[in-house]
């Protein structure tokens, strides 16, 4: 009997250690994207478009050519890349401030045009990089540095369900909302990410996965507790599921 490797660092990740906080699920999602790039043999033909946010350094961690987009504009940058070089693959990796606040127009229109790009949307209900301000996806009553008394609907509006908006644009080929707070859900998220990339690889249309994620630092709790908090608070607000699947098997 000998031991054989069954799970290890995917090739599409560089050796760089992640700059994310301990327990931040960005690292999990990066790994899933890299596993998919490996399995679909896409790495050498893929351009990474990093956002403004904690994952601004995403281009350091993926072993692909890459760039950084202005805040919210990654879907437009990706559109520019894809229209210039339709033979290349391109994905955007964006947080909830980048995609859900300043970038709402760009993501809606990229989806509506059915741009053959893939978007990984990391939703942790807070602005991480800038130190914990309210995001469009921050929950009602949730405290942040700009909602010190808790988010109030009458002043700050409601948590924004981005996938439900994107669902209504007809260029979408794959759209799902998943979570990564249990190992089983991590596997399910990988499958969704795989399909979102297949939507591009097979030339069907726009693919996006909204991944409910944790931010232990700005939620003010330890990483293990964050997994539980996500389950109890975010899942009721942001229903999981596959909204659009034109990819099939």
């Amino acid at each position: 009997m000998t031991f054989q490797v069954v799970m290890k660092r995917p090739e599409s990740l560089t050796m760089r250690e992640f700059t994310y906080c301990p327990g931040c699920t960005h690292g999990v999602i990066h790994r899933l994207v890299a596993e998919v790039l490996d399995e679909l043999d896409m790495r050498e033909n893929t351009i990474t478009v990093a956002p403004i946010g904690c994952s601004v350094f995403a281009y350091e961690f993926f072993d692909t050519d890459g760039t950084i987009a202005a805040h919210g504009r990654a879907p437009a940058v990706a559109t520019g890349i894809k229209r210039a070089r339709p033979d290349l693959y391109v994905f955007t990796y964006q947080g909830d401030g980048d995609l859900g606040a300043i970038g709402t127009a760009e993501i809606v229109h990229a989806a509506n045009r059915g741009e053959k790009i893939t978007t990984i949307f990391v939703n942790n209900a807070i602005y991480g990089m800038t130190g914990g301000q309210m995001a469009p996806t921050t929950l009602l009553g949730m405290k942040s540095t700009t909602t010190p008394y808790g988010r109030k609907a009458e002043n700050d509006g409601y948590p924004l369900r981005v996938s439900e908006i994107i669902k209504e644009t007809r260029g979408v080929a794959y759209l799902a909302r998943t979570k990564v707070n249990t190992p089983q859900d991590v596997r399910k998220t990988k499958e969704a990410i795989r399909k979102a990339f297949l939507a591009q690889v097979r030339g069907i249309g726009f693919g996006m996965v909204e991944v409910l994620s944790t931010c232990p630092t700005n939620w003010g709790m330890d990483p293990v507790k964050s997994l539980k908090w996500l389950e109890e608070n975010m899942v009721p607000e942001y229903p999981l599921g596959v909204f659009v699947d034109k990819v099939g098997e």
Binding site: T64, A69, R73, V77, G80, K82, A84, L88, H109
Partner: protein, 353 residues
Amino acid sequence: MAERVLVKGTEAMGEAAVRAGCRLFFGYPITPQNELPEYMSKRMPEVNGTFLQTESEVATINMVYGAACTGTRVMTSTSSPGYSLMQEGVSYMACAELPAVLVNVVRGGPGLGDIQPSQGDYWQATKGGGHGDYKLIVLAPSTVQEAVDLTVLAFDLADKYRNPTLIVADGVIGQIMEPVTFPDFVDLSQLPTHDTWALKGNKGRQKRIVAPFDLDPYRLEQMNLALVAKYEEMERNETRWEEYRLEDAEVVITAFGTVARIAKSVVDQAREQGIKAGLFRPITIWPFPYKRLEELSKGKKLIFDAEMNMGQMLEDVKLAVKDNAPIEFFKRMGGVVPTPDEILGALNSKLGR
């Protein structure tokens, strides 16, 4: 013998871009340049190119950024308020050293202003516009033929220096129709490939990034110093201007774009009235021809700057002329285009005639 065709300025710049090998155009509607994206929407499919009407000027400039990352020739056009929206993206492109051609068909401002021609974006174009230390080569055509020629040049300069080139055409250039000759189609296989830096997929090589930033201040300083050196090279090599009847001139009219064209009539009419006038017309409003204007201004009776703005190029004229000669200024604003008579009348009164 190349044929002469009657064409509107905006469309002429579009066709010139196609001749220059541009096969990618992103744009958003805004008056008075809509004919350019409309023309490209028809023309690009004819040449196997891509046209995309975007959701905003903000999206537009970021699509231009993305396309430029791949080393592909790309263009957009807009007008003043739209160019304001593009400033963050332009700053990003300058930092990341990305080539592209941008066209601003300038209208009356500030704010929503109006849709008439103006020269009110000179400062925005030449002194920044976006944040940070950067410059763009800015070309100011004064006829539709020149707009065609400068559009082709703009692509070459953008590729040569890895920097966006801006064409500032006021609304008159955008809208008038004149006979032009278009250049031959560039052989697409001869276009610069930018293989040393462009994002094309890292098959068989190390990955690379196009980065509009560096969080380490010492490294960012080095990046900035390299950009400064590049801009100094542009100043040495790319300054362009026109001199009209300046050989024996005592009065130098300075103007750019459409006003320069009007000023040519003023020069001729002034000469008929016995005033030895001439015109100094910057073609690159950045890099500005300070040295030549300084030389020319020595011993002159008057430097007379005429613009459709509150005195924007005037500041550069003053920097060039220093104490060499007195300077007077003529302005129209709000989108009003002056007549030669008006300018000549003002010149006469400044000369005490």
